[in-house]
């Protein structure tokens, strides 16, 4: 008999046999229980004895799933587009590339704005992470990571540090110094350790904590100073490709999307998966919260973007056209939430009217896939990074 291999997060005395073993953390009715794998087996078999066979559990899960479907259908009394008919139509949008940031030697994979609305950090396939001043297009700092495919990068809220990671399975934090000659790699701090590539990272409200998502199917919350794992989030059955933190006014949750076509909403403190949405037909490449925090949008390889409302617990709008056949890699909302910018693998950026579900504009300019897209903190512009090695600022 061999029990399954699991990622042991804690090691210590088991709650039932009191021996020091690697512990599996389970929640029963929100009570955390730390059992070693042997006691877990025993408890599972005892659960069996009280009348619950595998068959009965399967049947119960089917009925629960059906019940969920019904509940969600009952609330679907009207479409978002219908409600938004009375809203004013949007005028012509006049957006053009205002700055082009050249300097990366290979595909740009990720970018993030600094809270000062002017600095941008971007990472690329060749392992370079560059901090730009978007107004002047000057490069302020450059770091060479010991790995290629740096798929995630983030700016700290204070503007004093950046975090990045990729195929090295780690998330590293680099404090930025004003001294241009200083070697940034010397001060590097490895914060997160996953067992597969790092797909996304973001700082929480302070410089002290980082949330990461990984190809190993988990997301995790880490303390930057000590590198300690504070909470881990299990529930995806395949790679987690993206995550986004809820806007600070609405509380401690985040949403993650993965290759299992699901988007899950998690509670930061308990690690509990509070809501799950699985209407996409393919991998979810990017998720972003609506500015009010009550909804989120997702971009997927099935060439659609969708809006999910958290309080109605369902998908409320789908942004797609028959002429769009390439996957969407990245989305972001404008400040008011009326516009949704989405970057696609056919080198274009489509701008959607969130309420009416119609496309407002197509932006051309990039010469390869648009891999990441973010609106600046004050909403005056947005930046897109592409596999054509450049970043463009649009306003």
């Amino acid at each position: 008999m061999c029990d399954q291999t699991f990622l042991a997060i804690t090691f210590g005395p088991c709650d039932s046999c009191s021996e020091n073993r690697p512990l599996m953390n389970l929640y029963i009715k929100t009570e955390p229980i730390n059992y070693c794998s042997l006691c877990m087996e025993i408890m599972a078999c005892q659960g069996l004895a009280s009348g619950e066979t595998l068959k009965s559990l399967k049947a119960e899960s089917e009925t629960l799933r059906k019940k969920l479907e019904e509940e969600r259908k009952k609330l679907h009394d009207v479409e978002l587009e219908k409600v938004a008919e009375k809203a004013e139509a949007l005028g012509e949008l006049n957006m053009k590339t205002r700055r082009t940031l050249k300097g990366h030697g290979n595909k740009v994979l990720c970018m993030d704005w600094c809270k000062d609305k002017r600095r941008i950090v971007s990472s690329s396939q060749d392992g370079k992470v560059i901090v730009w001043d978007a107004f002047t297009t000057n490069k302020e700092h450059a770091v060479t990571m010991p790995t290629t495919w740096v798929m995630a990068c983030a700016y700290a809220p204070s503007g004093c540090a950046i975090a990045c990671g990729g195929l090295d399975n780690k998330c590293s934090v680099y404090p930025l110094s004003l001294d241009k000659d200083e070697n940034l790699s010397a001060k590097k701090k490895s914060v997160a350790m996953h067992t597969n590539y790092l797909s996304g990272c973001t700082f929480t409200n302070s410089d002290m904590q980082i949330l990461t998502s990984s190809g190993d199917g988990t997301s995790a919350l880490w303390d930057v100073e000590s590198g300690q794992l504070l909470q881990s989030f299990h529930g995806h059955s395949a790679d987690v490709l993206t995550l986004d933190l809820a806007p600070s006014e609405t509380g401690n949750t985040f949403v993650s999307g993965g290759s299992d076509k699901k988007a899950n909403v998690w509670d930061l403190r308990s690690g509990q998966n509070v809501q799950s949405f699985d209407t996409h037909d393919s991998d979810i490449n990017c998720v972003k919260y609506y500015p009010s925090g009550d909804a989120f949008a997702s971009a997927s390889d099935d060439s659609t973007c969708r809006l999910f409302d958290l309080r109605a617990d369902r998908e409320v709008s789908i942004y797609s056209k028959d002429s769009i056949i390439f996957g969407a890699a990245s989305v972001d909302f404008s400040l008011s939430g009326r516009l949704l910018f989405a970057g696609y693998n056919d080198y274009t950026i489509n701008v959607w009217d969130v309420l009416k579900g119609t496309r407002v504009a197509i932006l051309f300019g990039h010469e390869n896939r648009v891999s990441s897209l973010r609106v600046s903190p004050d909403g005056t512009a947005f930046c897109s990074g592409s596999w054509d090695n450049t970043l463009r600022i649009w306003a």
């Binding site: 029990d3 399954q4 877990m40 087996e41 599972a44 078999c45 659960g47 069996l48 595998l54 559990l57 119960e60 899960s61 629960l64 969920l68 969600r72 609330l75 679907h76 009207v78 479409e79 978002l80 409600v83 938004a84 809203a87 005028g91 949008l93 006049n94 957006m95 053009k96 205002r98 700055r99 002017r118 978007a134 107004f135 509070v274 809501q275 799950s276 609506y290 500015p291 009010s292 009550d294 909804a295 409302d309 309080r311 109605a312 369902r314 409320v316 404008s334 400040l335 008011s336 939430g337 009326r338 516009l339 969130v354 309420l355 609106v375 004050d378 909403g379 005056t380 512009a381 306003a395």
Partner: protein
């Protein structure tokens, strides 16, 4: 034994579904109305929506010249 680990996995799924089935939900009409209200309230503060003039937008060129 893979049998009991299936059981543990199944139990977790059922617990998760029970939890999800019990959350409070709002009607789509209400949720949609709230989304629309948020958009309307913040529309004026949205520079990308209203189009900010060259003098206030740091990214737009100040000089009158055409870019090709």
């Amino acid at each position: 034994m893979s049998g009991s680990s299936n059981l543990v996995a199944m139990k977790k799924i059922v617990q998760q579904l029970r939890f999800e089935a019990s959350i409070n939900r709002v009607k789509v009409s209400q949720a949609a109305a709230d989304l629309q209200q948020f958009c309307m309230q913040n529309a004026l503060q949205d520079p990308l929506l209203t189009g900010v003039s060259s003098s206030t937008n740091p990214f737009r060129p100040q000089k009158v010249c055409s870019f090709l």
